[in-house]
Symmetry: C2
């Protein structure tokens, strides 16, 4: 009997790991194909008027923009070819996991739609308000499928609140709003932590690898299927993004475009939602959340926001320096005065005052790093920002594992 159970477990593990291994091998293949595809196709982007000038270089070469559409397509094709691997088998056994299959298709549909809309945005240069609208549209298939397939909108309440509102609470429509907003947040969070070579791709690789580690740990947990599902997406995503990073790293031979930020954010949101670990996904976005909150006085126009907030390139010493904005303190509204004073108190901003005019750094995490470290070479600046991202993945795991037990039954 004991032997039987062992065989059974081994079989289950095989069924579980086999598609992951195949997915990993396909991802490695996708990496090598994408790495070679990018230099071959990049001139077509310049011809199509899709290019930028790198403002932090002494040369003014045209750098192809929106290469995210190439890695996005590589990712999709890998996933299309992968579809029969985990599901073809179940067909023979007669226990076809319809719900899981539907989830996979809905996830791919949302990601494909986001890639289309992101590329359309890069090409057509849509308005700022579309940055919020497009991810909402692209998350529609996901939400619709969630509604049709599950429609479970009950959340478990944290322990301290249980006396007040019970063990769980059905938040109904709000749950759909939450899912839609998660997609909007993830897409834009990566988009606004950008401006130095390799940062968009670098942070995305760190977030993806954090999710992979979390999934691998949880494979032996009580929801293995959800984490297996997430790995199917994260492995090819990481592979194709690494291929992009290779060409996007300092000095960038290609730029990634909004396409990439949209595509990445939606992929993270999708695995978070369908893998039932959206809160943990958000934990891996700590630097992005900080950057968003830190930026908010400028994003909401409490203090002036110039068109570009990226750090300033000092060509004499080949270093990046903080970029600044200036304003009359007396002209800020009351909320602006409070926020800026708080930032000043906590030494979170540079502060120079003369004749009633105040000069501060633009409120981005990148400028904050430069404020503390002084002028840095661009590659070093990106490395530090990625190191911060990695550090906060560690923090996220501490919060997720030891600390979560305070609030939830783990």
């Amino acid at each position: 009997m004991a032997a039987d159970v062992d065989t059974d477990t081994t079989n289950n593990l095989e069924i579980m790991y086999f598609p992951i291994v195949i997915n990993l091998l396909m991802s490695i293949g996708a990496y090598f194909i994408t790495v070679r595809l990018i230099p071959g196709i990049k001139d077509k982007f310049i011809k199509a008027n899709l290019f930028g000038i790198d403002m932090s270089k002494t040369t003014s070469d045209k750098v192809p923009e929106s290469l995210g559409v190439v890695t996005g397509c590589s990712f999709l094709i890998t996933m299309f070819l992968f579809i029969p691997i985990p599901f073809g088998n179940s067909l023979i056994n007669g226990d076809f996991p319809h719900a899981e299959f539907v989830e996979l298709l809905a996830a791919l549909l949302s990601i494909c739609c986001m890639l289309l809309l992101g590329f359309a945005d890069d090409v057509l240069d849509l308005r700022w308000r579309h940055k919020l609208l497009l991810p909402t549209i692209a998350s529609l298939p996901l939400l619709m499928v969630y509604y049709v397939n599950f429609n479970s909108t009950t959340i478990v309440t944290p322990k301290p609140l249980r006396e007040l509102i019970g063990y769980s609470i059905d938040i109904g429509l709000l749950y759909y709003v939450y899912m839609g907003m998660l997609a909007v947040f993830c897409t834009n969070a990566i988009n606004i932590l950008a401006g130095v070579n390799g940062l968009e791709t670098g942070q995305s690789v760190v977030i993806a690898m954090s999710i992979i580690i979390f999934n691998v740990v949880e494979l032996s947990g009580n929801l293995p299927k959800a984490h297996q599902f997430s790995l199917y997406f994260m492995l090819p995503y990481t592979a194709t993004t690494l291929a992009l990073l290779k060409h996007n790293w300092y000095p960038s031979k290609v730029f990634v475009g909004d396409t990439f930020c949209y595509f990445s954010g939606m992929t993270f949101a999708v695995v978070g939602i369908l893998g039932h670990f959206s809160k943990t996904t958000l934990l891996f976005f700590i630097p992005q959340v900080f950057n968003f909150l830190y930026s908010s006085p400028q994003l909401f126009k409490l203090i002036p926001c110039p068109r570009h907030r990226l750090p300033k390139f000092n060509s004499k010493i080949d270093r990046m320096e903080i970029s600044t904005t200036n304003f009359k303190y007396s002209e800020l509204n009351i909320l602006g005065k409070i926020v800026i004073s708080l930032f000043r108190m906590f030494k979170l901003i540079k502060w120079q005052e003369k004749d009633g005019w105040v000069v501060t750094n633009n409120l981005t995490l990148i400028n904050l790093v430069l404020l503390y470290c002084g002028p840095l070479h661009e590659a070093k600046l990106t490395s530090i920002l990625i190191a911060i991202q990695i550090f906060f993945t560690g923090v996220a795991f501490v919060i997720r594992y030891p600390l979560a037990s305070v609030f939830y039954d783990v």
Copy 2:
């Protein structure tokens, strides 16, 4: 008992028609939104360098190109919002039609992917061989889902062949090749019957409406679900395409781009395959099939093929005239000589000979119409071509209904 049966039938009919009516109302809404959206967004296309000059006009204004991406997105959003209507109900009854739902998502995934690749092709101007590769990639999700979900590759043999090979035959892998090729054919067939204002959209509307009529007739047949499914796609497709036609009709204020041809062809292929009426779908492509066969001597370089084969605009009389190609008869290879002589024998080409040089019209259906009708105003030329398309829909129905019984048990 009799009364019971009646109620039951009424209920079933209600269940069948209710989502179709909702879909129709949503489609009408999509029409009005798209009609207003196109003029609002078209300047962004010109700014993005996506425009063409209309060679059949006296002015040389920039006409925005690739507007198919706008109607494609309208179509997708309509479909996303429609998803809960037919399936939300089944959820409550507990008889959720998983296979049907999976089909819907796979179909949308293929269409969305084709729209993305089509738009990428318009923007990046990919090579000619991609015209064959891209629809194959975009049909991958469909084929993979077909494999996972059905994997039925048996076809019923026509009556005259049954003595030889039996009632049905399993063609295995060939069935997938057939499905992939259907997508490639449909996308490119519309793309090569083009060149005068409103023709791509006009023919597509006729094909879509033919499919709608066929579906409505078959709703009372023995596979109502499949035709209901097809209507879900065809109604919003027709609505958004009519909106595009309004702006694309002579004189064109927008061009539709390869994006539109890809998107349309894939939509037709998808409903044909998943609705199990791919042969009937092909019947609605008779003018396209003829145009392809008639063009093939030039497509396969048996006789010289200039870069553009569209008819020539005669600005003095404001009429379209045939465009020509010339070659030395003696320099054609044997196959070229046979084909061109056959065409000449059947009076399918203009033929002028001088000093061994032959001048013929370019081999397109458009030029053939001009050959028989003489110079025509552009709007009239398009109208005649659309009338031909409508005529052959009638022919298709004759083949499908009275004639099919000769070959199959109907």
